[in-house]
Structures are given as C-alpha cells and as structure tokens.
C-alpha cells in the first residue's frame, strides 16, 4: 500500500494558501479604510477553490480578438481573480471599505483558516500514527 501525502491532506493545503492570501487582502482593505478613492476588494473563495481543485487555472473565459481589448485581470501564478466588492454605501471620497463588514469577514476567514489548519494537523497526526504502527 502506498501512502500519498498529497491525497491524505486533501484540499486543505490549497485552502490554507488561499485563506492566508485572503487574510492579507482583507487586512489591506481594513488598513486602507481611511484612504480616499480606495476600492475594497476580495477573492471569491468558493469559485477559486473549485477551479483550483479541478486543476485548471481560472482564466480564458474572455478571449481577446483585438489587441485593443482589455485583458482580463488575473494574477500570473495560480490564476485567480481579485474582484472589487459591490459597495453597500460608498463614502463621498470614493472609498468603498465598510470596516465592520471587513472585520467580520476577516474574523470568519481566520476561523476557517484555523479549521483547515486543524484538519491538516489531524491528518499529519494520523500519518504519524500509521508510520509508527503503534
């Protein structure tokens, strides 16, 4: 029998990477809460994770047929979009950060990060048990 560590860990490593990315994005939003013209942004976790698990980077839904077309915003490495949040109540200076909702999202995201971390930790524990065979 072969133990594959990747299979044993499941989707949690990807989820952790994405969660930490999102933590940093939400932190950015909160830090810029008083910056005029700053637009709040986020990643759509569900769809990004689904795409990553399919193994296909999420791009190419728009095809440019003319060099003047604006390219779809994707990041180079894993291919996921950072999107602007639809503002609940934009302020007069053009800032769309709602600190309270960002904070609750930050807290929720961190909870889920810890949950994934717990899962990974547990799987490692099981693997160690299997290896030791005690």
């Amino acid at each position: 029998m072969k133990i594959s560590i990747d299979n044993a860990l499941g989707l949690h490593p990807q989820a952790l990477a994405l969660r930490s990315e999102r933590t940093s994005l939400l932190a950015r939003n909160i830090a810029q809460a008083d910056t005029p013209g700053y637009k709040s942004r986020d990643i759509d976790f569900q769809s990004v994770l689904a795409e990553q698990m399919k193994g296909t980077p999420m791009q190419g839904t728009l095809s440019g047929t003319n060099h003047a077309h604006i390219t779809q915003a994707t990041n180079g490495q894993g291919g996921y979009d950072v999107q602007y949040r639809v503002p609940l109540m934009p302020s007069l200076d053009g800032n769309t950060v709602d600190v309270q909702s960002e904070q609750s999202k930050f807290a929720e995201n961190n909870m889920r990060f810890l949950a994934s971390l717990r899962f990974v930790d547990g799987r490692f524990g099981s693997l160690v048990t299997a290896i030791k065979g005690e």
């Binding site: 932190a27 909160i30 810029q32 910056t35 604006i70 990041n75």
Partner: protein
C-alpha cells in the same frame, strides 16, 4: 507567505494613523494660537492618505503575495495639507495682536471636527493592532503545525 504581509500592511496603517493623531494633536493645541501681525496665523493641518501606487498595466489587481506588500497594500501619507477654510476673525480691540480695526485672526481649527478625527484615528489604529495580533497568532499556529 502572505500572512506575514499583514504585518507590513497593518504597520503602514498604524504609522499613517499615528501621523493623523499627531496633526490632530497639533491642531487642538494650536486652536487658540494667534500670530503677531504680519505673520501667518496657524491653519488646521490634515494628512492625505493614499494607497501606494498600483501597477497600472491592464487593470491588473495585484495580490498581496505578488507585490510583496510593496504596492497597493501599504497606506502612504502623501503629505500634510493646510486647510484653506477662512480664519476665525474675532473682534477683540484690546488684544495686543488686533489689527487697526480691532479684529484678531484665530486659527481655522474646528475643535469638534478635530475630536471626531482623533476618535476615528485611534479606532483605526486599534483595528490595525488587532489585525496584527490576529495574524501573529495565526502564524504561530502554523509554526506549531505537526507537533
């Protein structure tokens, strides 16, 4: 690891908010300072915040891990501007700095505005501190993984 970017981001936010607190303190302290005739009266000062320059190419929104928190993430203080609201002119003929008509120009500091500014700045500062603490505890948990 992008968790560590949070430290940079929150740190820049904290320093920007502390500059804001500083200008507020200066404004409140100088709310009643009258300058002698011929010298400029103190004017209320406010910092201007900006997100550090974003990569302009193709509407591309960089992720924090891509830019290493250097671009688009940090709060930058572009500068401090003086308010151009009209000065507060009061009629005080016995004041040593009164002009020939008996008027004294007081700074255009609005104490109520400054107080609310101060509360807002200190709250934002607190939120940044909390964010940093949260990121630190998350990073610690990651470091302890598999123990």
């Amino acid at each position: 690891m992008s968790l560590l970017n949070v430290f940079d981001i929150a740190g820049s936010g904290m320093s920007a908010q502390s500059i804001r607190l500083n200008t507020t303190a200066s404004n409140l302290a100088n709310a009643e300072s009258v300058a002698p005739r011929g010298e400029a009266t103190y004017r209320a000062r406010h910092p201007v915040f900006a997100a550090e320059l974003e990569t302009a190419a193709g509407g591309h929104l960089p992720l924090p891990s891509e830019t290493g928190a250097a671009e688009g993430s940090n709060v930058q203080v572009l500068g401090i501007v003086e308010s151009d609201k009209p000065l507060n002119i009061r009629y005080e003929p016995d004041h040593p700095y009164a002009n020939e008509n008996g008027y004294v120009a007081y700074p255009n500091v609005n104490p109520v505005e400054e107080m609310s500014n101060m509360i807002s700045a200190s709250r934002s500062f607190q939120i940044n501190v909390e964010m940093m603490n949260t990121a630190r505890s998350l990073a610690e948990r990651v470091l302890n993984m598999g123990r």
